[in-house]
């Protein structure tokens, strides 16, 4: 069994009207079944309101499913006794870099998680050193987070999660508020963690370019998982993605249009080099 396993997950949001009677319920995720193996790089795609953020909040127990069960590292998230263990195993990075940094100095923020877990002081320092090293932010350890760029703040947030020694890290649109450079920085840090520290990564995003490197992709729409497979399998279905209001990477789209125009190339081209190679043969 994988590190994260969901079976027939469902979740309802309740909307209360002004009189406070009869809440309206709204199904945010419905019948989601997943099985994620340790060490994988997973991407979850979907446009706004597809339920991807709701799913992310389930993965570390911030929300508890209304239906179905979710296991993180063999622990049921609806079991309140295990909740802190689950949150330690599955760390979470949020979208807004400003609203998730608690410390007034970078190194203190990274130490926040371990402090909460009751780790001894010496061990906290070691963890802080290691995690700052892993995301390449050692030089900024004594800085105030307010003076960092968005990408740097997100790297600090990732270091803060890494210091808790999670098995799995969930990133909920970590690059949505960043400029292209910041986006590259953050993705590089995430990829390094996945490859070198062997942390399972679940990246939730609506940028197609970020998905290309994933091992496995889930596409969500209206609370359902509508497509899944390797990036190549997903991106060879350009029409279906477009019907879900998702953009495909430009190269893939170009290759698709060329194919429609009669050029003999395969579907699911992901990178520029690949397209160049295919065209030059």
């Amino acid at each position: 069994m994988g590190i994260i396993k969901a079976s027939k997950l469902g979740f309802d949001y309740f909307k209360y009207n002004e009189e406070g009677e009869e809440p309206e319920s709204y199904r945010a995720i419905d019948d989601v079944t997943l099985d994620i193996q340790a060490g994988q790089f997973i991407a979850v795609l979907g446009h706004n309101g597809s339920g991807k953020s709701t799913l992310a909040k389930h993965l570390n127990g911030l929300l508890v499913p209304s239906e179905g069960t979710l296991w993180v590292d063999n622990m049921d998230t609806s079991d309140e006794e295990d909740i802190w263990k689950i949150r330690q195993r599955a760390g979470m990075v949020f979208q807004n870099p400003d609203n998730q940094i608690i410390g007034t100095v970078v190194e203190e923020d990274v130490g926040f998680g371990p402090e909460n877990m009751g780790v001894s002081t010496e061990d906290i320092w070691k963890r802080v050193d290691d995690s700052l090293e892993a995301v390449g932010m050692v030089a900024y350890r004594h800085h105030s987070p307010n003076k960092l760029s968005g990408g740097q703040k997100q790297r600090v947030a990732i270091a803060g999660v890494m210091a808790m020694h999670p098995k799995c890290i969930i990133l909920d649109e970590p690059t949505a508020m960043l400029d292209p450079n910041g986006r590259k920085e953050v993705l590089k840090a995430v990829r390094t963690l996945n490859e070198q520290e062997n942390v399972t990564v679940i990246l939730i995003t609506h940028y197609m370019e970020e998905v290309v490197l994933a091992d496995h992709v889930f596409v969500m729409d209206q609370g359902h998982v509508v497509m899944q497979g390797t990036p190549r399998e997903i991106f060879s279905q350009v029409e279906k993605l477009q019907s879900l209001r998702l953009d495909v990477p430009q190269v893939t789209l170009l290759a698709h249009e060329l194919k429609l125009a009669g050029v003999d190339i395969p579907e699911g081209i992901l990178t520029t080099e690949e397209l160049v190679n295919v065209l030059c043969q």
Binding site: N60, V105, F112, G118
Partner: protein
């Protein structure tokens, strides 16, 4: 620009005072303030010497100490003025119906010295201690209150979060203000009531965004296993070193001397 504001008035320098445990500095300030109220006359020489010594050790330029006085200038003058004219005693001179007495002048002088030294003494603490260290010191000193169910850890956590978010909210205020000005809002003209009314389009979005941030931050803290002060360890626990014990010794000696001067010499 608004990003660069410093909170509190910490002046970074490398001095013994900067490296002292914040708890020592806090208690030291308390002792100094008490001593100011114990002295009656010549004892202030000791107070002056002590303050001067501390200022020299702190390596903070003197003008920073005086800065804090500007805010209380008005209060200082009023206090001194009323003390001088309303104290009964030996009349020195008359101006119209105002009588200035010898006792009044002495009392005014004493009040003035007390206020000035009090502000300067506490400035020494705030100039050499970061707001964060102060919060830590308060948490540690107030810990006994935990027994009567005062949420000491939670209070200090709120204080440090407030410190972290003040610059962010200031920046946001600036942004909203510019956005509203761009759409024709007027924050400058009109009388006070009109000005206050004009603040509404600034305050409403600011409050909404502050609540949203609070919600996000609470989620992020929970996601990082925050569950109150129970079972929590510290990355930078406050630990007394030899230096701090020495400082406590000096403070005790100062307090003893203060009391001795008052009791035996009646200064």
């Amino acid at each position: 620009m608004i990003r660069d504001i410093t909170l509190g008035q910490y002046y970074p320098a490398d001095s013994v005072l900067h490296r002292l445990d914040p708890r020592v500095k806090f208690i030291g300030t308390m002792i100094y303030i008490i001593s100011l109220f114990v002295f009656k006359s010549w004892g202030y020489v000791l107070g002056t010497v002590f303050l001067a010594g501390v200022i020299v050790i702190s390596k903070v330029p003197f003008r920073f100490m005086v800065k804090g006085l500007k805010a209380i200038m008005f209060l200082l003058f009023i206090t001194m003025f009323f003390n001088a004219i309303f104290t009964p005693g030996e009349v020195l001179f008359h101006i119209w119906i105002i009588k200035v007495t010898k006792e009044g002048l002495i009392l005014a002088g004493r009040m003035g010295i007390r206020l000035v030294f009090l502000i300067m003494g506490s400035s020494v603490m705030t100039l050499t201690t970061t707001p964060n260290q102060l919060t830590d010191a308060l948490e540690s000193l107030l810990k006994p209150l935990n027994k009567i169910h005062v949420p000491v850890h939670e209070i200090s956590m709120m204080m440090s979060i407030a410190l972290r978010f003040i610059p962010i909210l200031l920046e946001e205020t600036d942004k909203i203000m510019k956005a509203q000005i761009a759409r024709g809002a007027d924050f400058e003209t009109g009388n006070l009531i009109k000005k206050v009314k004009n603040m509404v389009p600034l305050l409403v979005p600011l409050f909404i965004s502050a609540f949203r941030r609070a919600n996000d931050l609470a989620l992020a803290m929970e996601a990082r296993c925050y569950h109150g002060g129970e079972g929590r360890t510290q990355m930078k626990p406050l630990r007394y070193t030899g230096r701090d014990y020495a400082a406590y010794g000096i403070l005790a000696a100062y307090l003893a001397l203060t009391i001795a001067i008052r009791v035996f010499l009646h200064w």
